[in-house]
Symmetry: C2
Subunit: 368 residues, 2 copies
DNA sequence: CTTGGCACTCTCAACCCGAGAGTGCCAAAG
DNA sequence: CTTTGGCACTCTCGGGTTGAGAGTGCCAAG
């Protein structure tokens, strides 16, 4: 478990350096990171030997710290202040120093229990996942719904509503449901003699369902021409819906626990979080993560300036994909200050991602 | 326009007091409120005459301020600091001192234009509304989808998905769509000889659609018995879905612009916003507003401690309902420090509420 | 290589102090 | 009777100072 790698973003450099470190340096670095994560205060040599029983004197620790600083793993706010881990220091810690434990059985059971209480079909469970992540890691959590890479026609329903409008409700192959009102004025121009009553709609829906099953947008467009009257017209809307679904990778983002981050001393001054929140709002940020996460599954850790996005230079992300393989993909993870409890956050994200994988596939598969 | 009343929450008291105020007192109160809202700094007599050309000396203003303070309309952080409006002072200002203008034609056109760019059927337009509210008032905005008070059966579709599960997609009378997976194991126990293929599902759906149109949950339950086999079983799920829809008044809440509040000096220290965010997360808070808003339409202003909820003692809410009358109801509004630009926020909320009313009804009614 | 000693640096909290803004009161003026 | 200028008083806030404390780097001895 301890040897797991968390997708270093900058080639193999940090690992090579890790191998060059002496045991003492490794021990000191680990102690510095853990102390700083805990106290949020730059840590000095004396305090360190006091709290961690390193078996050496402060002077020795000092020289080790100086070496670590030369390697770029620690940094100095100013002379005569303690040391603070750099992004690279955290990276090394995460990669090879951290003692990572799986979640307790108790935690796991509790989480599992909470999931058993909610319907899996609506979005309530995503909200729940975000809430659990946020609470358990005391960071901000982000969860996106699982979507398939390529939208396929599943089943369609055409409904005449009380209010006179006509609704297309399209079930995609992955079970997601999308909808759209028909532009009746346009239809009426095209098919002036149609009654557009429920009977006719049912008829058209039947035709669509028998002809379009399993097709993606382009095929739907191609087949549309061969369909009769109303069905042909509606097929255009269906194709549009499919294309829309294809184009949006990340649609609804569920976040929770932003206050947790606000309470961290580094973000006590509320406006410091502004850029982060702004970026989080724009869903294209999460879309950038998609290729990274799908390339290799598992938990990814992005620390501070490793993130190409300027707004994220002060925070770390811990993300994982989830979903049924090759069918639907979602994202979940947490966001917090670089001074984050990685040994807690990483297993939590990992557990939730595997749990949600399991729920999704067992749910899909339960009757097969 | 200026004489509009914004639903005083505590009987007629403030209004009676308002009538007792002298012209001078009213002028001074207005100036204090407007200056404080603008500068966020307690305002003194000298500064006031300097900035507002009141035509009297600071001494006179001082005595007026002392009177206003005795009436509970202003308050004093400490001796020898300027005055700050109390909640009651803001209330009076909002009720009868404020010069409220409608939104410019330009703003209105821009907003309208933005709405013309998005599909009305998906939730994108609610997000847009929240974004416009937040941007235009520099406060946090909250928008909830319009839901009908009582859910009715509209049309149902039963789908066999690729993955072997069976999905119920129910279109409600108000056009909202809800969905649920069928518990196939249970069904199989009940109806061991059913194939549950798409053909059978279509058959059952047809029966349901012809029998249940327009009914609410209890009637659906009652009629379920008379339906054949599979349809009867599914009717139970449909009734459950309807009941679920009835029980949740406020489901998805779209918020935007929380950073705007974080940037106000009174909330610069991020954790001060914690209680507010926590309450906002819990949807039951918004549900409390529903009866108030429906009792009398229009814009409601709740200032600081007028709010019965402790967490909201430092903020003001400006809310309005929207929706098709007697059919669907949603909420929208803004939240900010009590030191809020009421003359801007109130018209904005009002305009957005009427605009969304209009969009919803014209959309519903366009083909009738 | 480790360690104790030592001189040095820098922050931080506490304190003081004066400037500035504001108040309340009062007596004189309108 | 209201308004106003004057005046004494209060309180905050920013700046400057200072001493304690923590931490560092270096060096020579163990």
């Amino acid at each position: 478990m301890t040897s797991q790698r968390h997708s270093p973003r900058q080639g193999g450099a940090p690992i090579r350096q890790a191998l060059e470190l002496t045991d003492r340096q490794r021990t000191v670095l680990r102690a510095v990171v853990e102390d700083y994560v805990f106290t949020a205060v730059p840590v000095g040599s004396k305090a360190l030997v006091g709290r961690y029983a390193l078996g050496v004197s402060p002077a020795t620790v000092r020289s080790a710290m100086a070496e670590l600083e030369a390697l770029g793993l620690l940094s100095h706010p100013h002379t005569s202040a303690g040391r603070v881990p750099s992004d690279l220091g955290y990276r090394l810690y995460v990669e090879s120093l951290m003692r990572e434990a799986e979640l307790d059985q108790a935690d796991r059971l509790m989480i599992r229990h909470q999931f058993s209480q909610v319907q899996l079909t609506n979005n309530e469970w995503l909200r729940l996942a975000a809430s659990i992540l946020a609470g358990s890691t005391r960071s901000a959590a982000v969860v996106t719904p699982a979507r398939s890479r390529r939208a396929h026609f599943g089943h369609v329903q055409l409904v005449a509503l009380d209010d006179g409008t006509r609704l297309v409700v399209l079930v995609l192959g992955d079970g997601n449901v999308v909808q759209r009102h028909l532009d009746r004025a346009a239809l009426q121009r095209e098919l002036p003699d149609s009654p557009f009553d429920q009977a006719e709609l049912d008829h058209a829906a039947a035709a669509l369902n028998s002809e379009l099953g399993g097709f993606a947008a382009p095929q739907v467009r191609r087949r549309a021409a061969r369909l009769p009257r109303l069905a042909a017209a509606v097929a255009g809307d269906i194709a549009a819906l499919l294309e829309e679904a294809d184009s949006v990778v990340v649609e609804d983002v569920f976040t929770d626990g932003i206050v947790n981050v606000l309470e961290q001393p580094e973000f006590a001054e509320g406006s410091r979080l502004r850029p982060v929140l702004e970026v989080l709002q724009r869903s294209d940020f999460l879309e950038q993560l998609v290729p990274v996460l799908t390339r290799s599954g598992g938990v990814h850790v992005i620390i501070g300036r490793e993130n190409s996005n300027d707004a994220m230079h002060e925070v770390s992300l811990i993300f994982a994909p989830y979903g049924a393989p090759d069918r639907a993909l979602g994202l979940l993870g947490v966001l917090g200050p670089t001074r984050m409890r990685y040994p807690r956050a990483i297993p939590t994200v990992r557990y939730l991602s595997t749990l949600m994988n399991e729920l999704i596939t067992s749910h899909y598969g339960e009757t097969q």
